[in-house]
Subunit: 85 residues, 2 copies
Amino acid sequence: MVFAESLGLVAGALVTCSMIPQLTRVFKMKSAHEISILFTTLLLLGMLCWLVYGIYLELLPVILWNAIGAVLVTLLMYLKLKYGR
Amino acid sequence: MVFAESLGLVAGALVTCSMIPQLTRVFKMKSAHEISILFTTLLLLGMLCWLVYGIYLELLPVILWNAIGAVLVTLLMYLKLKYGR
């Protein structure tokens, strides 16, 4: 189980942290025309579902990564609304 | 467990399907300057880790959604390399 748990932690970290360079890029370019608002919406809803799933099954890594991920995706959605109109 | 399993299926579907409007947008605009290559790379690695995790623990929804997700992210990476230089 240690292998699986470690792999789950790494996988969640990679998926959540992938949002950081994307956020940075849109923020630096001050442009988000190529970002789909539906992408950010579905991704946010998905992460919120994973968050409820993690809380329900008491899976700390799932709670942790999806809580952070949801904040990052909300930020991307904000930048899309600000720079992508 | 039925509630949790259903929620996991919906969550995975939302996250994976979020890639479809993003792919469509980049493909239609024929431009991917705002997409971060590091975003697609980390996301792909994360999904591949989830895929191995799912295979190891024999979790069919995790295998299914991350296999499809990895294909979609690979496509986005291809479009980034084609249109984002």
